[in-house]
């Protein structure tokens, strides 16, 4: 039986062996690049998408919203979720409060701490998130001590001539002090 060929460092074949090893690395890496690149491109597609505009949605009318404590409205919009086109797809909830004859305040029902769902407590007259005990005043400001960095997110409200209440529904990045729209 013949002996295996080996090359010790510093011998004349050393450079040749190094080139062979380098070629192994180049070809070995090259052949696996296409599937990895294709997969990562697909996987990271959402990162490259633009932040969508807010959706303007009719939630109520002045007649149906008398002055009083805030009321919760669910928001359903026409929406395409990946491949499915929904005619009415629930995307979130909004508190509406009548603040004047033709003025309405809209607050997102998503907790600015980490996105939990907010409820209104009539006895305490405050907003509350049961996940990490964040509380907010009836005006939406943070009640200290609180894990939340900012108050409840206000949403743009439009009231048309017919008294319909339209809200521009948006989602904002949770866990930070600034109010940055993300969807």
């Amino acid at each position: 039986m013949t002996e295996p060929t080996t090359t010790e460092p510093g011998q004349p074949g050393d450079r040749r062996e190094f080139l062979k090893s380098a070629a192994c690395a180049v070809f070995g890496t090259a052949c696996i690049i296409p599937p990895v690149v294709a997969g990562v491109t697909v996987l990271t597609a959402p990162i490259r998408e633009l932040v969508p505009e807010g959706v303007k949605v009719k939630l109520s009318s002045l007649d149906a919203l008398p002055p009083g404590p805030p009321r919760l409205f669910s928001v359903s919009v026409e929406r395409t979720d990946a491949w499915t086109r929904h005619q009415r797809n629930a995307v979130g909830a909004v508190f509406l409060e009548r603040t004047g004859e033709r003025t309405v305040k809209a607050l997102s029902a998503s907790c600015p701490h980490l996105g939990g769902s907010i409820e209104y407590r009539p006895e305490q007259k405050d907003f509350y998130c049961g996940i990490h005990d964040s509380a907010f005043t009836a005006q939406g400001d943070v009640v200290q001590p609180s894990p939340a960095y900012r108050g409840l997110d206000t949403l743009e409200v439009e009231i048309n001539a017919a008294g319909e209440i339209w809200v521009v529904f948006r989602e904002f990045k949770a866990g930070i002090k600034e109010k940055i729209a993300v969807g």
Binding site: T5, K20, C24, I32, P35, A38, T41, V42, A45, T84
Partner: protein, 674 residues
């Protein structure tokens, strides 16, 4: 102590790496040893692409096709990802065959490597099972109907077949659980088994070492770097081949969404299973063949089982003196059989017009479903099938084929591309009905008698009168029943050609006497002579006579009037394809309308128009419009259309042949509306 030393101290990775790379290669590196590595590489690529696809695939009857569509057509890079997964799966089969050939030819299956060989056979079965389960996942027509054949074969396994079929399908019928089960098998259970077997396969390979091809041409070497370099280059070549296929075919095809209500006659397995498909079709296994009702079991279970058993026995057979020769011979005989059956299957399909039409239709449906999904910014919650179910462009041709094509044609075919011979067309071709082009052709003396218009109708070829029919029937009784159809043209010519040329007349009579029953010749000659003497040419319809006799004599002014009337009549249809030209020619059309109101060219003698009540012809009011077609199809015998003269056009009204929805789909398609 450096970082790598620290890691090595705790993991011993250097020793592991060394034992992996510095394996002894007897006779040095060779290109013929690359197949196992390329197969391993292919499996790694399938794992990588499969995991990314898994993140975006949704296994349910309403979302499988839809999510694959989304990956393929919408997600950036999705077509490439799915393309690599698909074509690597295709290439794995030849790689498996090459690896298997190397093992058999080099005798690598012999002692002490029997178990490694058997593990390899297990891997072969697993790879094919993964391919098979993956074929269904896109939930398109091809995968759906092909896999249904396979699960029905499973159902035919004696004793446990039904239970096995139900277990695999997840229900009595295909549905959500078929997909969840196939997906779990494809992406979970089978790959896990594959990994276990690969570990065992490679461990045993390392234990026994490589089987060198003798005689050795070089000195012994190490696995790294020489053989690794060859393997890496080969893997690059495999990847390049896959990318070329992906590029050439623009990714992996996705068929039309699976439709359990629509049989797909072009359902075929992937190419590497086509030999089995063809094998099942052999007459030997038909119910009237030597195996009787067991033919299906013998073809799908017994023979493949015996072949696999033979493969399993190869290491034992190889111990005999001529065993190795027998194994190599069996290998090549098997490959020849595989090649032969595969070629026959593809050649038969290539020569089958029905198969080709079904493939074209499926491609059209697939493209249409994707087009609609893009146009409508998504797919309804009911799934992609709903897009096609409510689409005139998809359903119209099918309804035309089933309801109209027994008399009418559409551009010469049956709506779905199958040509209808002239002899089977007894009504006009309805492509672009009511357009200016269609009406101008209709009123053209050179075209009216062609099969595009009235060539196959009784308006051009009216039947003889009742008295003549009786005389013809008397002659028929004297003919041999089996040759009556052949003699019919001669009989009809005699009955409907007044004062024919003597030679022709004698020829027709000779045809009849030749078809005579014994001893009837004289009587036939006498009756046929009398029939010819009294022959009457039946009158063509009034409309046909006007077109043939009057229109050629029109003055230039009348021809101009006719063109305006055609434009006005066609504008009644409000066809989308003429929208622009109708708007442009508004004044011209208005003149045509006025001519009709002024009874120009006597059209309104028969056809109702505005205040003119008309007569027996179909109304011109709204001619060819949606409403006109709907009312006409509901009841062609209405006074507004054919009236009592209607003798063959069936009523398609609600509660009869078509529902209101189907009627609308057909009409919208005929009018070129989406």
């Amino acid at each position: 102590m450096g970082l790598f030393d620290w890691i090595d101290d705790r993991t011993g990775y250097r020793k592991l790496l060394k034992s992996a790379l510095y394996e002894h290669v007897p006779g040095g590196s060779r290109w013929r040893y690359i197949w196992g590595s390329t197969l391993s590489f292919a499996i790694v690529v399938q794992f990588i692409t499969g995991v990314f696809l898994w993140m975006h695939y949704s296994p349910s009857a309403q979302s499988a096709w839809e999510s694959v569509y989304y990956i393929n057509e919408v997600m950036p890079g999705g077509w490439l990802l799915r393309g690599i997964h698909h074509y690597m799966a295709q290439l794995m089969v030849p790689l498996l065959v090459l690896h298997f050939m190397q093992v058999i030819i080099d005798g690598a299956y012999k002692a002490p490597r029997e178990f490694n060989y058997w593990f390899g056979l297990g891997l072969l079965v697993l790879v094919l099972a993964i391919s098979l389960t993956g074929y269904l996942l896109p939930w398109d027509q091809r995968g759906y109907w092909s896999t249904k054949v396979v699960t029905n074969l499973v159902g035919n396994v004696p004793v446990v077949g039904d239970a096995m079929q139900r277990t695999v399908v997840g229900d009595a019928n295909y549905g959500h659980h078929t997909l969840t089960r196939f997906f779990a098998l494809h992406a979970g259970v089978l790959p896990a088994l594959l990994v276990l077997l690969i570990i065992a396969h490679i461990a045993l390979f390392r234990k026994h070492g490589l089987t060198p091809k003798l005689p050795k041409k070089k000195r012994d070497g190490m696995f790294f770097p020489d053989q690794v370099l060859m393997d890496a280059v080969a893997c690059c070549v495999v990847m390049i081949a896959v990318l070329v296929l992906v590029w050439h075919f623009k990714g992996a095809a996705l068929g039309a969404p699976a439709n359990p209500a629509e049989q797909y006659s072009a359902a075929r397995p992937d190419w590497y299973f086509m030999f089995l498909f063809q094998f099942l079709k052999l007459k030997t296994f038909a119910p009237d063949g030597p195996f009787g009702e067991n033919g299906l079991i013998v073809a799908s279970l017994v023979i493949p089982g015996l072949v696999f058993g033979l493969l399993m026995l190869m290491p034992i057979l190889g111990r005999w003196k001529i065993g190795h020769f027998f194994n190599v011979f069996t290998l090549f005989a098997g490959l020849a059989g595989f090649g032969y059956l595969t070629t026959v299957a593809f050649m038969k399909d290539a020569a089958d017009p029905h198969y080709k039409a079904a493939v074209v239709q499926a491609q059209k449906d697939a493209a249409r479903a994707m087009e609609l999904a893009k146009k409508r910014d998504g797919i309804p919650t009911e799934g992609a099938l709903a897009l096609l179910r409510d689409d005139p462009l998809t359903q119209g041709p099918r309804l035309f084929k089933s309801q109209c094509a027994s008399c009418h044609a559409w551009d010469g075919h049956n709506g779905l591309g199958e040509i209808i011979p002239d002899k089977d067309r007894s009504a006009p071709d309805l492509a672009r009905f009511a357009s200016r082009e269609w009406l101008a052709g209709f009123l053209d003396p050179k075209q009216i008698e062609t099969h595009k218009y009235f060539g196959g109708t009784r308006f051009v070829n009216p039947p003889p009168d009742d008295a003549t029919k009786e005389k013809m029937a008397e002659i028929r009784k004297l003919l041999k029943p089996d040759v009556i159809p052949a003699a019919e043209p001669a009989l009809l010519a005699l009955a409907t050609t007044p004062k024919p040329d003597q030679a022709k007349r004698d020829g027709w009579i000779a045809t009849l006497t030749a078809a005579s029953l014994p001893d009837n010749q004289d009587r036939i000659t006498s009756l046929a002579g009398r029939l010819s003497a009294q022959a009457v040419a039946p009158k063509k319809s009034k409309m046909v006579r006007i077109i043939l006799d009057d229109i050629p004599d029109y003055t230039a002014e009348q021809k101009d009037q006719l063109n305006k009337i055609i434009a006005a009549l066609s504008a009644e249809a409000k066809l989308p394809l003429q929208k622009e030209i109708d708007a442009k020619d508004a004044a011209f059309i208005e003149e045509g309308r006025k001519l009709l109101s002024d009874v120009a060219l006597d059209c309104t003698d028969c056809h109702q128009w505005r205040a003119n009540e008309g007569g027996s012809g179909p109304t011109f009011e709204g001619y060819g419009s949606t409403e006109w077609l709907r009312e006409f199809l509901k009841n062609p015998a209405h006074d507004n259309f054919y009236g009592k003269r209607n003798d063959r056009m069936p009523a398609f009204g609600e509660g009869s042949r078509l529902s209101a929805r189907e009627l609308d789909l057909l009409i919208h398609w005929m009018r070129g509306e989406e």
